[in-house]
Amino acid sequence: MSAPADTRTITGSSLREFLHGLPSVDQVGAEARAAMLSSRSIKTTAKQWALDAAISMIDLTTLEGQDTPGKVRAICAKAKRPDPADPTAPQVAAVCVYPDLAHLAAAEVKGTGIHVASVATAFPSGRTSLEVKLADATYAIESGADEVDMVIDRGAFLAGDYQLVYDEIAAVREVVAGPAGTAGQVGRAHLKVILETGELVTLDNVRRASWLAMLAGADFIKTSTGKVAPAATLPVTLVMLEAVRDFLAAHGRQVGVKPAGGIRTAKDAIRYLVLVNETAGEDWLDPRWFRFGASSLLNDLLMQRTKLATGRYSGSDYFTLD
């Protein structure tokens, strides 16, 4: 694992051998580790830092059939100024929308430093032809998205056709960010690869899918679409954080992690930050390398932030519902 394999051509059988040669994951042990880290007690100054860090890492998301231009404008306003009563609250990392609304979001957040993420490749199921997936991703980029959240073909993965999954990711990557090896260059969009871990089920699969996505050129690996239960969980995120840590050591390229779906409370978010801190390390404690795919989480973070500053809880009516 010394040469930068993600720039090498990988054939089907060697890919399979590599993925099946990764160390296995003991589920009981991984769950115990995640539970132990959940018991960390984050108070006072540490909590203050964590709440603000979590806000700055949010991909504020709306992915509904009923999304309208009005809804997108509203979440963009929220993204720019999460707490109208407190200008010191940081802005979020990105807004995440469907491709047909990306142009609206791009216009709304222009000049703020907030990224526009768009789901693509027949999100959430990914059940269509490669041509349609590539067209979907191209459309997202052309509409102003600078981050694309693609889904992998879970069916192919579960059937053992790793090459197909790899090739699709690599092809989307080419559309989104140019050939492998050019990640991070100015003007290139970022590729987040959604593994949909709720459908992969085992932690061994999560580890293999993580490596597969990274080898194919993912800038980020993301747990879930949010449309399948369970979405993000701590043990799954733990395994993904181990994967990006080991991938950096083996290939010299840092890949980000994005748990998405089901993270609703500040307490949950802080648990994830502890997991990042003690697994991948503090280099990942940055919106460039760690994101939360969430919507209602933001208001709970703001509420806890106000509580920490004033010593009092205010009702949910004091935080905007966007």
Partner: protein, 479 residues
């Protein structure tokens, strides 16, 4: 300066109301020692004196054994078994109600992290009482005959590493089977045992069923050699265990169980789940500062994954948080006593002198109190003293092996035989190894997991007799 610096999160001491001095607990009453002698117990993390505790002499031992005998004959052994069970259930519930207080007190007196006393020790203590409460009226189904009888008065001497948990392992089965007890906690950690005495009163336990004598080696010797004792149960060092075995051998009919030292092998195969194995290694040797008789103090790694495992282990150890035992984020607490610290230092120096490579993560030790950094020795061979002698501290010796047969051979090549760990993805290999390892407990893809229903005990110099489970009842029944 780390980005995400965890602010101090200390558990409050306010829940514990320490008394200035504690007496002996004899026949349901707290009483000073006959000759007025006392000693101080300190917090090993700060060297602060916590309280003064009476030191029991021969006259006190005599009083306590007499009280236990009377209680045995007049109340406890003749009580209907289901009534004994009710008392044990009541004690278990009070322990749960007072769990936070007991956890704080344990961490104060012992130096172990509150995360462990809160999440491991105290819940297991309650579990042991619940479990044995259930046995009290079902002993005829335990496989020891239709109406197994208790033994009488049990003398029990316990160590300082899991003060209240070791008390539970001793007292719960003894009472469930109908015996009465005189228990001596370790001299460095008497406080939770004395709080347990209060709990016995709170539960209205008949006076004399449980007696607690505080003191050091002399007290223990007087207790285990007292002619009024029918049964001796000891957990502690192999050296003292042998002395007890010798003295009890002279008395026909006196039953003895000993749970002594260990030098367990934690065996990592090349197909192991590496990240979880590393957690298991950490939990095996740094749990409770390595003050664990079944600690995985010898790491046997298959040579083909040696570099990877050692690198992962070192990276992981750099994240361990050492410091204030009462801080909820502390992973490694204080060494229990100056004497134990001196022994750990001495053996570590021997390790270096014998040519093993010593490594510790960057780690700032508090100035006051007794502290030792998590330490790993690589390049250790079977001949080194650090591979043979129990260090009873946060010190890991790493050895390698090439084949499963060699792993078994090296794992068994020790005077001890308390526990072992096997890390592999192959189920068949786990079974193959488990049937060949001469150790009382073999953990597969985990380490240091305890449950009241699972018997615990050793081979060879790790002692004899089992504690916990159906097997553990035998030690307190006339079978």
């Amino acid at each position: 300066m780390p980005k995400f610096e965890y602010a101090p999160a200390p558990e409050s001491r306010a829940i514990v109301s320490l008394r200035e001095s504690y007496g002996l607990f004899i026949n349901g009453q707290f009483t000073p020692s006959a000759d007025g002698r006392a000693f101080k117990t300190i917090s090993p993390a700060t060297e602060e004196v916590l309280a003064e505790v009476a030191e029991a002499g021969p006259a006190d031992v005599d009083r306590a054994v007499t009280a236990a005998r009377t209680a045995y004959e007049r109340t406890w052994s003749v009580l209907p078994p289901k009534e004994r069970g009710k008392y044990l259930f009541r004690i278990a519930r009070i322990i749960q109600e007072r769990a936070r207080e007991l956890a704080v007190l344990e961490s104060l007196d012992n130096g172990k992290p509150i995360r462990e006393s809160r999440d491991v020790d105290i819940p297991l203590v309650a579990a042991h009482f619940f479990y044995h409460a259930g046995w009290a009226d079902k002993l005829e189904h335990a496989g020891y005959g239709p109406a197994p009888r208790p033994l009488g008065v049990a003398a029990q001497v316990i160590p300082w590493n899991f003060p209240l948990l070791m008390l539970a392992w001793k007292i719960a089965p003894a009472l469930a089977c109908g015996n009465t007890v005189v228990l001596k906690p370790a001299e460095t950690t008497p406080l939770t045992a004395l709080t347990f005495a209060e709990i016995c009163r709170q539960a209205d336990l008949p006076p004399g069923a449980v007696n607690i004598l505080t003191g050091a080696g002399e007290t223990g010797r007087a207790l285990v050699t007292h002619p009024g004792v029918d049964k001796v149960a000891f957990t502690g060092s192999t050296e003292v265990g042998k002395e007890i075995a010798r003295s009890c051998a002279a008395v026909p009919g006196k039953k003895v169980t000993l749970e002594l030292g260990g030098k367990a092998a934690n065996i990592v195969f090349e197909d192991a789940p590496v990240d979880q194995a590393v957690e298991g290694i950490v939990n095996g040797i740094f749990f409770n500062q390595g003050h664990v008789c079944c600690a995985g103090s010898r790491l046997l790694v298959q040579e083909s994954v040696y570099d990877q495992v050692v690198a992962s282990l070192q990276r992981r150890l750099a994240t361990l948080r050492l410091g204030d035992p009462l801080d909820k984020n502390t992973d490694v607490g204080a060494i229990n006593s100056a004497a134990q610290l001196a022994r750990i230092r001495e053996l570590s120096e021997v390790g270096e002198a014998e040519g093993a490579q010593r490594w510790s993560p960057p780690c700032e030790l508090p100035v006051k109190g007794f502290w030792f950094p998590p330490t790993v020795f690589t390049g250790v061979s079977q001949a080194h003293r650090i591979a043979r002698e129990e260090i009873f501290g946060p010190v890991l010796s790493v050895l390698t092996f090439r084949t499963p047969a060699e792993a078994v051979e090296k794992a068994n090549n020790t005077p001890y035989g308390l526990s072992a760990g096997v890390w592999t993805d192959k189920g068949s290999r786990i079974l193959w190894m488990a049937s060949r390892l001469r150790a009382g407990v073999v953990w597969a893809n985990t380490f240091n997991k305890f449950d009241p229903s699972s018997p615990f005990g050793g081979y060879k110099e790790s002692g004899y007799g089992r504690e916990g489970g159906r097997h553990g009842l035998e030690a307190y029944l006339d079978v």
